[in-house]
Amino acid sequence: MTDEAPLLDVRGLVKHYPITEGFWNREAGRVRAVDGIDLSVERGEIVALVGESGCGKSTAARATLRIDEPTAGTVRFDGDDVTAYDRRQLKRFRRRAQLVFQDPDSSFDPRLSIGQSVAEPLTVHGMADRARRRRLVEGTLERVGLAASDADRYPHELSGGEKQRAALARALVTDPDLLIADEPVSALDMSVQADVLDLLTRLRDELGLGVLLVTHDLSIVRAFCDRVCVMYLGEIVESGPAEAVFDDPRHPYTRALSASVPVPDPRAPRPAADLVGDVPDAAAPPSGCRFHTRCPEVIPPADYDLEADGWRRLLRFRLRLSGQSSDVDTATATEFTDGIDGDGGDHDTPSATLRSEFDLPMRLSDDGANRILDEALESLAAGEREAASELLETEFQTVCERESPPSRSDAPDREASCHRLRDEYEAKPDEYEVH
């Protein structure tokens, strides 16, 4: 790390999309796709932005380049504030910061030859000399591993890998300092992926490019990236050097993600802590820590002594009941009543029936908690869903839901935001050692 300003420095970047209704486009809500993220990219560095699909990482990439205007926040490029650029400055910025897209099949205009497409940025930036453009394009194509003659070919005549190389060529041809690659290889075969990423690394070395690699694939992050930012639902939950983050993840989400990375050894036991459900709707993100609805390590209420697994199931039920859960789709009123009407089999109380129906433990480790759950289940059985929901909500509260976790940095370059990192909530190892 040097003392000079980083190549790209993003602070508090926010991108909200309004949801509009009716003819007059009244704003009915906002999708908080990116909700205040910080990240930076140095020259000659590959930084990964990882997260599940739908977490806002592509939006973050596009907002960074002002392809979509960010709602708030600053983006500094080479020390200049990009968000304050006027048209002319922005255009010059476009030349120096390029974007590579995910889908090689649709990233080329089918009616233009590869050469024309690659030359387009040159034309856009005012290079009027046709022959010169041609020379540059051919040179660039060769440097990304294509033949100069490929300039005359059409996208449909190229394979996916070739197209992605051509896409790189298009991004490189204006000699940018920053490259943002949005899932550049996820549509390619494994073997081709490596080639393309190798090429990217090589070019980074050679040209001193700063690269922001947006991906959901942790395996490539580890192999090719210097630093990593983990994103969840519009926020960055952890960041740090790639090696460090994966060797010692601080955030439960990162842990869950890295656990899902396929291990080359097929005999290795597959971790069971797969993330449950989908990413919640960004239009109504969960309160407090946004991950709490899916977190395997969600902090139990202090008043009860709940065993980790039982608590997670209880919380999931509670969220379903109040319609907040991410797998809420099926949690309709009818389902709840169906659970009661349904033939309970060997369970003789409504509570027991419901417990088996909703994957609740037959008995919670804390008696007080158990009683409250019974009470709630009974009112649910009586059809008073609201009351049941309210009861559970007041009784079983967790800090993860109440408070947004502060960002903690315990090593230089490493940051994570999780309540578990606060001393008072530090987890006992058995709490998240799931079966």
């Binding site: 995910q102 033949a147 394979s159 490189l172 090589r202």
Partner: protein, 439 residues
């Protein structure tokens, strides 16, 4: 430079094989060797590498004209100048004449061309079409690709040749052919090789054999009830048909493209407003509107063309809009924008060319509709009766079908063939240009 030689030979080889199975033939299995080549190229001190480009110099240089653009500017400039001359200098003259020098003709070097408002529009249309075709014309491989696909439709190929003939005869031919003139004494002459009862023509120009008047080469296709030669009328009708069809369609296409892409790109209330307007325009029965406006403003060719052009774009605009919205999602649009291209240039370079297959098809099918509409209006008696259009000739000769059948039938056949040809052409273009129909 040795690299260039290698590239040339490779280009031949690639273009030889890269037709249908290109995507299969070039796979990534050769990645090792390509990586080596990368290293070579990177190490090699090539001619100019992208990192050597002095962008500040290019920025400082400002915008320069490309050759095509320069040509377009020159053409437009010339057009505007001549138009200005016509309006300002020769404006008082009812007939404005241009002398067209003919290099190959030594005796009589000046031809008179009476340039009407419609002619001006026509020239403008041809210019626009010409420049729209530049990208295709310049691109040999793309051209060949489309031609290969188009060629499979045999009748369409014949249609295209036929239409080309009609077009040339109608535009260039009419400059050298005398306009059909009135000669009531020579009315109702039958076409050559045919004969008709001698009582039908006013006076038989050809020989009368067995009480039947024979057609002559003087009027190869016969004459009308006014004694106008049908051959000349047919040729002049070509011009009118081409003018109505092409100009009006071009106006429609231009407006439709503008409105369609604007609606697709602007979205929101602009989209809503434009499309609702199209709704209204589409619901207003077109033919009815023509009737109306023709009544109001008279049925002159110019008015007719403008009415057709300005009211007939709704359907095409809808197609353009829906296609443009689809294209908007494509990543090459995002890529172009990310590389700094303005919305206008993205629309011009990527959106419009990529919806052009729909536009071209719709336009090709719009032409026959317009040509027929012109004929229909003539039939109802709303056209310009002095116009030598096929529709007018058919309409005025319809009462003679029982005796002098050729008057309506000759232009009728031309009309029929032309519309048929446009229909075949439109369908073939749809097949050829539609990327979904890869075979």
């Amino acid at each position: 430079m040795n690299g260039d030689d290698g590239n040339d030979s490779m280009r031949d080889q690639v273009s030889g094989t890269s037709t249908d199975q290109a995507s299969d033939s070039t796979t990534d299995q050769a990645s090792d060797s390509t990586m080596d080549r990368v290293r070579d190229n990177v190490d090699r001190n090539g001619p100019e590498r992208f990192e050597d480009v002095d962008w500040d110099a290019i920025d400082a240089e400002g915008r320069r004209l490309t050759k095509t653009r320069l040509a377009a500017f020159v053409a437009c400039g010339l057009y505007v100048l001549t138009l200005a001359y016509d309006v300002l200098v020769a404006g008082d003259d009812a007939t404005f004449e241009i002398s067209v020098g003919l290099p190959w003709s030594t005796t009589e070097s000046a031809y008179v061309w009476d340039v009407t408002a419609v002619d001006w529009l026509f020239v403008a249309s041809l210019l626009v079409v010409g420049f729209a075709l530049v990208p295709v014309a310049r691109n040999r491989r793309l051209r060949a690709y489309y031609w290969r696909r188009f060629r499979r439709h045999r009748p369409a190929v014949i249609s295209a040749w036929y239409l080309l003939c009609i077009f040339l005869l109608g535009t260039v031919g009419t400059l050298f052919i005398e306009p059909p003139s009135l000669d009531v004494a020579a009315a109702y002459q039958p076409p050559v090789f045919l004969s008709v009862e001698a009582s039908i023509p006013t006076e038989c120009v050809g020989p009368v054999v067995d009480g039947r008047c024979r057609g002559t080469w003087e009027y190869p296709l016969g004459t009308t009830g006014e004694g106008k030669g049908l051959a000349a009328l047919a040729v002049f009708g070509m011009r009118v048909s081409m003018q109505v069809g092409l100009i009006a369609t071009l106006i429609s296409v231009a407006i439709a493209t503008l409105v369609g892409t604007t609606a697709a790109y602007a979205g929101g209330w602009i989209d809503e407003a434009l499309m609702r307007y199209v709704d209204i325009q589409q619901t207003f029965p077109t033919f009815f509107l023509f009737l109306f406006l023709a009544y109001l403003y008279g049925g002159s060719l110019f008015v007719l063309i403008v009415i057709f052009g300005v009211t007939g774009w709704g359907g095409i605009a809808r197609i353009v809009r829906s296609e443009a919205i689809q294209r908007r999602q494509e990543q090459y649009i995002a890529a172009a924008r990310a590389s700094g291209a303005s919305t206008l240039s993205v629309v011009r370079r990527h959106v419009v060319p990529n919806v052009s297959n729909s536009i071209v098809t719709a336009a090709t099918l719009n032409v026959p509709f317009l040509v027929l509409s012109e004929a229909a209006l003539s039939f109802i008696g709303l056209g310009d009766v002095t116009l030598p259009s096929w529709g007018q000739t058919i309409a005025t000769g319809r009462g003679d079908l029982g005796t002098a059948w050729w008057i309506s039938t000759v232009p009728g056949l031309f009309l029929f063939a032309t519309i048929l040809a446009f229909n075949f052409l439109g369908d073939a273009l749809r097949d050829a240009l539609d990327p979904r129909q890869e075979v």
